[in-house]
Symmetry: C2
Subunit: 385 residues, 2 copies
């Protein structure tokens, strides 16, 4: 993989970590990668080029029929100065699955990872210098070919760019507020595509998202079916920690993947694996006396179970997980006329924060792997030469 | 509405009605219309410009989150040389509904119709000269603003162009073949967006469409739920005509709109209205002795009802309706290992055709209105000056 480069003088300034341009999510790095696929000739060699606009025929499939898929991933500048991706093999696998769901062509997964790594090896020395910070990376596939008939697009475009998102301030999170969805807005359904990272899983969810904001919440808690299964929160996976009814056992519960209505999140999967490996009764370390061991369950569960646990004072914490939100505690759930408010505490410097011990420890373990404080097979080190 | 024009010398040639360029659906007219909306400033004045590529930021909402909606309509050159749209008010209404479903801004419906008519008044003298032919028109709305966060796009683009699709040869249709969908591919769901013409209702349907083609069928017959309700066919509405069980009554049945999982098709609606007005026992003309009057029903019905009617020799015909397919008889339905084959006949010149008397008469009435052989309030005449 060899990519050509912009002269440094033609690149913009690197915004500081807490620059408002990052807050607006409109600060991109200087380059992007593009690769074209055509029915007749397959993939052309990917090219690195200055970040800039993409031009499409007005008849392009993606503009009418949502033939589009993407991945969200981050690249981390370790405290040891090394550059790392977190389980990028899973992003490549999932992109393949998403592409298949909307009739987009397949990209060889190993080549995809090489392209991402080559791109970041060039881009990150300039755009990600600060140890303990990260850059958001967006591999995208669109049906770029002209196709007014409803059929597989005859041409596709893969593109990839880096975005300078706001960085965590390190301050404790006040927690996010969730508004449970109405039956009139269902995010996903069995036989649909809610488990695929395709555009169609996102745009139609914005109406409920807007309603959440009108109700002083930041995200939707997506319910499904007549028994109101809890599936996802916004575009993140959702976890609950509670004490089992009539028992002392503490459970970590998240929706199972069996009906294909939730995203097989990489952070989700990592949380489950870490919780099983480090927080179960067999594995929990003796030096964590404040944490009761967890039983981990992936299963369908309902909003009524949360309300009941809350009423019976068994509810311990809820949190969401995803690449963008990372691991964020939930402070409030609004459902019809009921409100579940999680306990808050005030830190030494007067910040209000949601008590979320399990989310905190899981998050810190993940950060240790991402930023190289712990050597772990989940980290993929990029060679910057 | 005043639009500027290309000099005629800079426009391409008009392809003949049966030109292969039309078959590939890649022949567009010379101009398009664009209008930009921004959160802060609202709509800018629409502009007419040469047909050409649209350029978007790589972070444009539409490329990631399917914030897109469209309409499909046709403009007809009457046998009286006049230019007509067919019930365009309904397209404008539906676009508003679709926009709302994916957080796109609203376009004043009256202005929209004026823009479409002004555009066609300029484009059609050249591109639609032939009486009895039509031009496909595609009003489209996309979230063009940069928005990597999942939120209402801060900028939207409305665009409109004309496409020279193949024209009906006038030969009888051999009928279309439908493959019933598997439960693993469900097009739409109550609380979803199957009734909206948004991109998200189309791209994810292409996988089943590809499977239909592998099975020598051209479209998917979309089933829903454990009792296998028949909902749509491909991107068209679906109708069945059968004799009621243990009765002489002939029924025209199509799926009802109540659960919002099928498109409120304009051709569908027009067929229902015409059938009620002209084919019911009260209204049918005495000079149509070969047609038994119809009872019209909009209600959920199952694939098993079709199979049962077929086994009991009560099945008369099935057809699909939509702007692109117009009214097309169904020749075959494949469902699991069962095949429903409709009676075929051979015309004088040796063409095989599906017997579909009701579809034929309804289609001819619609054409009479579209091409001005019948004066009707559904026709909207465009003044070309």
């Amino acid at each position: 993989m060899t990519f050509s480069l912009l002269p440094e003088s033609e690149q913009g300034a690197v915004p500081s970590l807490y620059d408002p341009a990052r807050m607006s999510q409109r600060a991109m790095t200087a380059h992007m990668v593009q690769a074209v696929w055509r029915t007749e000739t397959g993939w052309e060699a990917p090219e690195m080029m200055p970040y800039g606009r993409i031009s499409l025929e007005p008849t392009a499939s993606v503009l009418h029929y949502a033939t589009e898929s993407f991945e969200g991933m981050k690249v981390y500048r370790g405290y040891d100065k090394k550059l790392r991706l977190f389980r990028p093999w899973l992003n490549c696998q999932r992109l393949a699955k998403s592409n298949a769901r909307v009739c987009l062509p397949q990209f060889d997964q190993e080549s995809l990872l090489k392209i991402i790594a080559s791109y970041l090896a060039i881009e990150c020395p300039r755009w990600l210098p600060e140890p303990g910070s990260n850059l958001y990376v967006r591999p995208t596939m669109i049906g770029s070919g002209s196709a007014l008939g409803i059929q597989r697009p005859p041409e596709a475009l893969f593109f990839l760019f880096g975005a300078l998102f706001p960085q965590s301030t390190g301050k404790p999170s006040p927690g996010i507020k969730l508004l449970a969805s109405d039956p009139e807005h269902i995010r996903a359904w069995p036989g649909g595509f809610g488990s695929a990272k395709v555009g169609a899983s996102y745009g139609p969810a914005m109406v409920a998202q807007a309603k959440a904001r009108e109700n002083d919440c930041s995200q939707t808690l997506w319910l499904f079916g007549s028994n109101k299964l809890v599936t996802e929160a916004g575009a993140s996976n959702f976890f609950v920690v509670w004490r089992r009814k009539d028992s002392d056992v503490v459970e970590l519960v998240t929706s199972s993947l069996d009906t294909d209505i939730i995203l097989d999140g990489i952070t989700r999967r990592s949380i489950l694996e870490l919780a099983r490996a480090r927080l179960s009764a067999d594995s929990i370390e003796a030096n964590m006396p404040t944490l009761t061991p967890l039983e981990v369950h992936e299963r369908p569960f309902t909003i009524d179970e949360i309300l009941e646990a809350h009423a019976e004072r068994r509810l311990i914490e809820c949190f969401v997980s995803g690449t963008a939100m990372f691991v964020a505690p939930v402070s409030t759930i609004k459902y019809a006329d009921q409100i579940v408010a999680f306990p808050m505490t005030v830190t030494e410097d007067g910040q209000k924060t949601t008590v979320s011990k399990y989310a905190s420890i899981l998050k810190s373990w993940l950060e240790d792997i991402m930023y190289g404080r712990e050597n772990h097979e989940w980290a993929y080190v990029i060679d910057e030469k």
